[in-house]
Symmetry: C2
Subunit: 343 residues, 2 copies
């Protein structure tokens, strides 16, 4: 079976993103190295435009619209980072966007999305009642009546390829840091890569890059304990659908992997491990206290798995480990509560 994306799709995405996406920094922490016994390289996508890696996939998808598609614009359903990613990408590319969000979405997120649409009268946020209305039907109706193109949050080859550029950059930056190091020698590539998993867009892109550049690199996904649908799916050998999980990791509250992402995960990912919400809060505290970064709960999944040595992970001591920090969009009051709950 042919997978939805290959390495060249990711390098092409990187070329499209050049000058538009931030080349986010790779951070090190002596504390984390000491705690884990590994050499850890954090790819800080919380510093990406609109605060999360999602910008990469959305921009890569919208940048490939035909002239006719651009004129009609893009539609997306999301109350999370994908909404802001699509709204911002559309503005940068000069096309209208319609974002369909539940009526009870946080006011802050609605405002942020509208902020990215500001100045384009053709763009709007459409709110729906998630108890009485069917968002798929709303989307289909809008797509048809307005001729807009729907971009899903993860199950799309252009989105997957765009997300993979986070790993491509990380590997480049680790190599540069090595060449820039005290001894001036080239460094060996990473031994392992840890990536959070919601619908699988990020990990499918990242695994595609990792296994192409170094088939020996171990790639592990991390889900919240309550939302381990992908872990179950891998065990079952087919996509398992679960009820919307209750977890503070709101970016990983997906019910099932995608039709396109799951085969990539099956083919290229070495395993999926899980962490609890308490471990996420503890990790957010450590990342803020020792690394001075604000990370959203979902963004802390991969770091939490490493720091807690989540069951199922191989022994990573003395290994060179990449960890993707996926985003930093968390209400600050909520952030303050979560990190205060730990100390």
């Amino acid at each position: 079976m042919t997978l939805a994306i290959c390495f060249d799709d990711v390098t092409a995405a990187a070329a499209r993103l050049r000058g538009h996406a931030h080349r986010t920094p790779v951070l090190r922490s002596a504390t984390v190295d000491a705690l884990t016994g590994a050499q850890v390289f954090f790819k800080a996508e919380n510093f990406q435009r609109m605060g999360a890696f999602k910008f990469r996939g959305a921009f890569n998808a919208l940048a490939q619209f035909s002239e006719a598609q651009r004129e009609r614009g893009v539609i997306a359903f999301s109350s999370g980072n994908h909404a802001q990613a699509v709204a911002l990408s559309a503005r940068l590319l000069g096309m209208p966007s319609v974002i369909v969000m539940p009526q009870d979405a946080p006011a802050l997120k609605v405002a942020a999305t509208r902020g990215y649409q500001a100045g384009d009268a053709r763009s709007e946020v459409i709110l729906y009642d998630r108890y009485t209305q069917d968002r798929e039907a709303i989307g289909r109706e809008l797509a048809q009546s307005r001729g807009m193109t729907l971009i899903p949050p993860f199950d799309h080859p252009h989105v997957m390829a765009g997300q993979g550029t986070a790993a491509l950059e990380l590997f480049e930056q680790v190599a540069e840091q090595g060449a820039d190091g005290a001894d001036g020698h080239a460094v060996p590539p990473l031994d392992a890569l840890l990536v959070c998993v919601g619908g699988g867009g990020l990990i499918s892109g990242c695994a595609t890059v990792a296994k192409h550049l170094n088939p020996a690199m171990q790639v592990y996904g991390v889900e919240p304990e309550a939302g381990n649908d992908t872990q179950q799916s891998l065990a079952r050998g087919e996509i398992v659908r679960i009820a919307t999980p209750r977890t503070i990791a709101d970016g990983a509250q997906t019910e099932a992997s995608g039709q396109l992402t799951f085969p990539v995960i099956q083919a290229l990912v070495d395993g999926i491990v899980t962490v609890s919400d308490a471990e996420l809060a503890k990790t957010m505290h450590l990342l803020a206290e020792r690394m001075k970064i604000v990370v959203e709960p979902t963004g802390a999944l991969a770091a939490a798995a490493l720091l807690q040595a989540a069951p199922g992970l191989p022994d990573l001591r003395d290994q060179r480990v990449g960890v993707i920090i996926s985003g930093g969009n968390v209400d600050l009051q909520r952030f303050a509560q979560l990190v205060s709950s730990v100390a």
Copy 2:
């Protein structure tokens, strides 16, 4: 009058720090650019080793100890970032350190300093009672009896030169980002640089670099409103000493500039402006919410001045402005309180 340091001292410091200090990232924010009308480049020294720029000056000073000095070790008075900077630098250079701290210093800071000394039985934290004991006398006695070298927190040419490497790196990185930009053209240098001021170590080093590379660059210092001793000193033309100021910017609670730092400030700094504690808290909130970084109150001084257009600053709209974020060492409970107080 000859100033205590020159540009070559800073480049020599940069060579000593290579492979030891982090090359901290330069961060951009579309939000901040929109709010200020400027192009703003944040030098994120909250990501420096031990969490603040102070590592640069301390390491540069200790790295120049003679063999005999190294054997006896270093002594410092500090309850803040200088303590951790000296303790860590001493460990990296294999020499003992004695840090003299007030008995009522936060337990966390004492523990962090002891953590950097761990494994060296010759190193210790000595606590004194700030109401009944004279720390200068303690220091002199220790320096004499143990033959240790005292390194002050700011008023020392090696410390000043080390701190200047933060600006040197910032200018290099801005130039690299430009060369790396969409159009591939070299970028013009910065038009202005904003730096927080406590005892003047950081700004004297940074101004030395800025005015050497671009005499037209405007360099402004930022003090807390309650602790504007340097602003007063510049107005008076001599060092003014004030009572220990009450401000949340604990890194800028100095009573007076140094004998070596003040002449550099007089010669090279275009002006000093001030911000209130409320403005600092507001800025910490914005830096966390929009830029996803944890910044200590003192670390937010320069950003606050820009964002609030502090009286005395020139019009910086349409200018390219460098802002030094000096550190991120703030107790997380305190941080949570401060940012929650704003929203």
